[in-house]
Symmetry: C2
Subunit: 245 residues, 2 copies
DNA sequence: CGGGAAATTGATGACTTTCAAGGTGTGTGG
DNA sequence: CCACACACCTTGAAAGTCATCAATTTCCCG
């Protein structure tokens, strides 16, 4: 009976030695500041697949960084209609949604077994006063969140369904590239259901677009693995305001 | 030759005596803090209709509060497709979009002659350190911005066009009510073009929905003046996930 | 007062959803 | 370890929603 060898048993490590420190909160901090930040970070959160990091209306307990795994945030209205807002990958920060009222305005659900680093609410304000680098980085992360929302709004409001998927794949490609991974071959961390909801279309529509793009030799998709065969065509598709090439 | 008597000639007044101080940045500040804030605020910005408070890629010069008038923010992609992101009414804050890169990621255009109060970038960080109340209020305002984006995403991603308009009208109704105005009769500060774009639909579609809702005695619309005749029906429409009543 | 932008209305067609069925992979319990 | 159940994904056909094109009216600004 040995313990499982998945990420859930991973040992907590310091921000300094974390492979994500260039993209995560520590990115703008001095060595000195990092030590201060480190003291407050709670690395003990292990969230299992389909379980919540936090839920709507829950009182904010701080902000969170994804250490490994993946998290989706989504909002629901009174009728139960749900909209996926963002997919958070390792190094991403979440929890800003509680800044308005002090309670979370969305659900954060793990898409797979996930490790989370938490900066507790209590020490957060103090840290911001003490660490100029943290303030700067926090501003940067908040801006990233806002930019993301703006781009998704542009996509949902103005693009056709196939353009939306193309745009999404390109963004994901860039994301992986910036983290040293292949920009042509990567894994979708979410189900078709979650992705189609995020992109504001029916699951069937997403499936059909994937099939069509595969037929046109733009991408190859095997379950959740995506290979971009023709980056140029994909980019052309994402920018095709003048319908039909 | 007397000077024009429109809002553009309005005299700058103190935050303390401003009618908006309960909803604007001063809201969470002590009297002491307000004096500090006041020193840094630049109230001289007068933006004429159709002119920009700031434009995309412009280096951030601070954050802005709408004193009078109205401002729309919008983002455009490389193809010139444009998406209106938000309408900012008196008391609303804008400029957070530059938090990511230091340059603005959207355009902010005045919908009518508008007065703007500016907190310059240079003093902003210092003020945040010095004034706990300002930090708290800033957090609140940032959260409001994020919440707004989330709700718009839900609307664009999950609702039908008529549900989107109903939702928008109800939000505007609540907004005016919370500021002491009528919740049943108010003015749309934007053109049909801007509103239809914001709601992710064609102008013609918006026009048709307005006509239909008028025929059904839910609203009366005369140019930019809206009267809500049947609040219950409007709310039912906004929540009709089970299509067709 | 005139030109032109803004708004409305109608007809048509494209895109997307919905409903339905079948296929494929995964996980759990025997 | 295998089998079965179930969730996930794909594909097809039909229907609906919404966009586009076009024409007309209304209203605003110079």
């Amino acid at each position: 009976m040995r313990p499982p060898t998945n990420t859930m048993s991973q040992k907590a490590i310091s921000c300094e030695s974390c492979s994500l420190n260039a993209v995560c909160l520590p990115s703008g901090l001095t060595a000195e500041e990092l030590i201060q930040l480190e003291k407050s970070i709670d690395k003990t959160m292990k969230i299992k697949k389909k379980e919540a990091v936090f839920k709507t209306n829950q009182i904010s307990d701080g902000i969170y960084a994804v250490k490994s795994g993946a998290v989706k945030t989504s909002i629901a209205n009174s009728d139960g209609q749900e909209q996926v807002l963002e997919f958070h990958l390792p190094g991403d920060i979440l929890g800003f949604d509680a800044f308005n009222s002090g309670t979370h305005s969305c659900d954060a659900i793990a898409l797979e077994d996930t490790l989370i680093c938490k900066i507790p609410e209590a020490t957060f304000d103090d840290l911001c006063i003490a660490l100029p680098g943290l303030r700067k980085e926090l501003k940067h992360q908040l801006g990233k969140e806002i930019s993301h929302h703006q781009n998704l709004l542009l996509s949902l409001g103005q693009q056709q369904t196939d353009e939306r998927l193309a745009t999404f794949l390109l963004q994901l490609s860039l994301h992986y590239q910036s983290r040293g991974f292949s920009n042509k071959e990567f894994v979708l961390p979410m189900s078709r259901q979650d992705l189609s909801n995020y992109l504001g279309m029916a699951v069937e529509t997403l499936s059909r677009i994937i099939s069509r793009m595969t037929d046109e030799n733009i991408i190859k998709v095997e379950r959740r693995v995506v290979i971009i065969s023709d980056m140029d065509k994909l980019e052309a598709l994402a920018h095709s305001s003048c319908k039909k090439t």
